[in-house]
């Protein structure tokens, strides 16, 4: 038991690492503030392209979406961060993460929006167009608000996944929460800082997960 | 006094949902081969009474004997008893992932331990009896409502129950499909099945019931042969209920 506490819940070491962890948390927050809006907006564009009436537009979009859903985000990130310099493009870790997330989570958000938009009956389109609204106005004021409400649990769920996913930025040395914790671990030879980071992730995401589970089961019934 | 000749003997049955008392001391006896019709306004407790009779609802108080066996005795094997108490639901409740035949044979095989071939023979006979011999391989979603309800009746009949409980068996059906289900019930009655039916099919009650029980607010108000209940109801509440139904 003592071994367990000293190895996983070592208060002294966690206290030492605390300032580092906080700085890491700040970077994680910054990262989220960048990649969540990017994904939400990018995904909407992806969905609209995928719903295009023109086959020549729709099909390449589907192929790209499946492509980015098939490649693990970490692979995408490393390709961008370590591969692109060979083509003379040197993105900073932060930019590399943002681009990788835009491609990966854009595809996932896109699928969610698409399901939402497809769930709205044709009658809504026809009613809106019959009152003289343009296609764009119909989409903005009638379809998308209903679609978003229908898939809200999925959007929240995917956003939780995005927040969790920011931890892979540690692999390209972006000093976010997990990177800072792992740095502290390697300095102290003690995994307690990672346990502390896990506790921080839990504190942030547990309420969201609880909420989700309620939403999902309510929809399920 | 329990009536030893009774197929179903309910005594002093009480059931509460929270603070709402849905059954307030029900006494009801059903003799073998009798068809008893239970009528009454919605919320009168008639469905709850029926559901207590195979313990889908747990009563709070009282006694329910089926062919002499006390259902509420903790030593009673409730699953064995349920096989002898056929239940037909308003919403059919067929298993959508199984063929009609598999719906029928499931309990025969898993609960009675019959072989696949034996269960199939029994199931096919039960389907023939309800006029669905050609639907054995169909899935419930491919049947009309009336056919689904007949299949559900076959599922209950296949277990050779001693008594059958019908919980508004025709309420979910389009009017033109009701007749086929009533015909099956009529055939069962002709074959001597003991039946308790909760239903609003007053014409059927008048024609087929041995006895009609009128329930209101969790109690039996009056009971008697159909001629008496429909022709000369003694109680004012019975009269006003029947008047609402237009006779």
């Amino acid at each position: 038991m003592d071994v367990f506490v000293s190895q996983f819940l070592n208060v002294e070491i966690i206290a030492q690492a605390w300032p580092l962890l906080l700085r890491g948390l700040g970077m994680t927050a910054l990262l989220c503030a960048a990649v969540i809006p990017l994904g939400l907006v990018g995904g909407l564009l992806v969905a609209l392209v995928c719903l295009s009436r023109h086959r020549a537009v729709r099909w390449p979009a589907f192929v790209l979406v499946d492509f980015f859903r098939a490649v693990p985000p970490l692979v995408l990130l490393i390709f961008i961060y370590a591969g692109l310099p060979f083509a003379g493009i040197r993105p900073s870790p932060f930019v590399a993460v943002c681009v990788a997330f835009l491609l990966n989570t854009g595809a996932y958000y896109g699928e969610i929006y698409r399901a939402g938009i497809e769930s709205i009956g044709k009658g809504q389109w026809e009613a809106a167009r019959s009152t003289g609204l343009t296609a764009g106005q119909t989409l903005t004021w009638v379809i998308i608000p209903q679609a978003v409400r229908n898939v809200l649990p999925d959007l929240v769920s995917n956003t939780v996944e995005v927040v969790k996913l920011t931890s892979i930025a540690s692999v390209v040395a972006l000093p976010e929460l997990l990177y800072s914790a792992d740095m502290a671990r390697s300095l102290t030879y003690n995994p307690s800082p990672i346990v502390a980071a896990a506790a921080i992730y839990l504190a942030l995401l547990w309420p969201c997960v609880r909420l989700l589970s309620r939403l999902e089961h309510r929809v399920g019934r | 006094m329990p009536d030893s000749a009774a197929m179903l003997d309910v005594a002093g049955l009480r059931k509460r949902f929270g603070t709402l008392e849905v059954l307030r001391g029900i006494d009801l006896t059903v003799r073998p081969q009798e068809l008893v019709f239970v009528i009454g306004p919605s919320g009168s407790g008639k469905s709850t009474l029926l559901r207590c009779c195979n313990r889908l609802e747990e009563p709070d108080e009282g006694s329910i004997r089926v062919d002499g066996v006390e259902l509420l005795d903790p030593r009673t094997d409730i699953n064995a008893m349920r096989r002898q108490i056929g239940m037909v639901f308003q919403s059919f409740n067929l298993y959508p992932h199984m063929t009609v035949l598999a719906n029928i044979t499931l309990a025969l095989r898993k609960s009675l331990g019959k072989s696949r071939a034996e269960a199939r023979d029994i199931g096919e006979a039960a389907l023939a009896r309800v006029g669905l011999a050609d639907k054995a391989g169909a899935y419930p979603a491919q049947l009309s409502g009336g056919q689904q309800q007949r299949a559900a009746i076959a599922r209950a009949v296949a277990l050779e129950p001693k008594i059958m409980l019908f919980d508004e068996p025709t309420s979910a059906l389009d009017p033109e499909l009701v007749g086929s289900v009533l015909a099956v019930m009529r055939e069962l009655r002709g074959a001597g099945m003991t039946m308790v039916v909760v239903s609003h099919e007053m014409r059927f009650a008048r024609e087929a019931a041995d006895r009609v029980v009128f329930m209101d607010a969790g109690a039996i108000v009056e009971e008697g042969p159909p001629e008496q209940i429909f022709g000369a109801p003694r109680h004012a509440r019975t009269r006003s209920f029947l008047a609402d139904f237009g006779g």
């Binding site: 071994v3 190895q7 996983f8 499946d66 492509f67 859903r69 098939a70 490649v71 693990p72 985000p73 970490l74 692979v75 995408l76 390709f79 370590a82 591969g83 060979f86 083509a87 939780v160 996913l165 920011t166 931890s167 892979i168 540690s170 692999v171 997990l178 671990r185 995994p191 990672i194 346990v195 896990a198 992730y201 839990l202 547990w206 997960v209 589970s213 999902e216 089961h217 399920g220 019934r221 | 195979n54 889908l56 699953n79 008893m81 349920r82 096989r83 056929g86 239940m87 639901f89 409740n93 067929l94 298993y95 992932h97 499931l106 898993k110 609960s111 009675l112 979603a141 559900a152 277990l159």
Partner: protein
């Protein structure tokens, strides 16, 4: 050299492909092994937990919900690092492969439990009642009537979630599991060329695009509009 030659030289260099393709293929085998192992144990455990939860024993259910919540809320990489670097210090040493398999199985089990449980809850009460009224026991009803329907409804969401989680096998690169990404990164640093990274990405596409397409097909096929 014009820019397209530079590009081909850096990203699709024939000599590098020739030299390192076997390593990438070896990585693919490892990735497939991890993925299959995770899918088998994760889904089995998730289904078992969901079935257990339907007995509605208060203490058991609280423990299941706690397990599910924690593994849904924690980034898998965090758990991997804790297990990989933490267990040796309490005297348990697991290979990177075992850690990756264990952690991803638990993560998948948590998500699968939640999905299966939703499915079980969505089966109408009448199905339970009809089965029980024919004398089937609780367990028989669960096994023959409820779970087959619940599982079928959960196929599309479960497929998509399973794909997302098995792709996390790439996280194995961080703890030295010789799967595709690890092989690609090693090859990239030895060759000083980006070709292995592109090969790695292609390897994932070869493995996962068919599964993603399958998920898409299942979604339309099982779109519960059986009328």
């Amino acid at each position: 050299m014009d820019s397209s030659t530079i590009f081909l030289d850096a990203f699709l260099n024939p000599a590098v492909i020739d030299r390192y393709l076997p390593d990438i293929l070896k990585g693919m085998v490892v990735t497939v092994e991890v993925a299959l192992a995770v899918v088998a144990t994760g889904i089995a455990l998730g289904l078992a937990l969901a079935a257990l939860r339907s007995f509605r024993v208060r203490a058991v259910n609280a423990a299941i919900v706690l397990f599910v919540d924690v593994f849904r809320a924690l980034p898998p990489l965090v758990v991997i690092l804790i297990v990989y670097f933490g267990l040796p210090s309490v005297g348990i040493t697991l290979s990177g492969f075992a850690v990756l398999w264990l952690v991803l199985s638990l993560v998948l089990a948590a998500f699968a439990e939640e999905i299966f449980w939703s499915g079980i809850l969505s089966i109408r009460k009448g199905q339970w009642e009809a089965a029980r009224s024919t004398g089937l026991t609780f367990v028989q009803t669960l096994v023959w009537v409820i779970l087959p329907q619940a599982v079928r409804m959960t196929v599309p969401p479960l497929t998509n979630r399973t794909i997302a989680i098995t792709k996390n096998s790439a996280l194995g690169a961080v703890i030295g599991v010789p799967e595709i990404l690890m092989q690609a990164q090693t090859a990239q640093s030895f060759s000083g060329n980006a070709t292995p990274l592109l090969l790695g990405a292609i390897a994932y596409i070869v493995l996962f695009v068919p599964v993603v397409a399958l998920g898409r097909w299942l979604e339309t096929r099982f779109a519960w509009g059986r009328s």
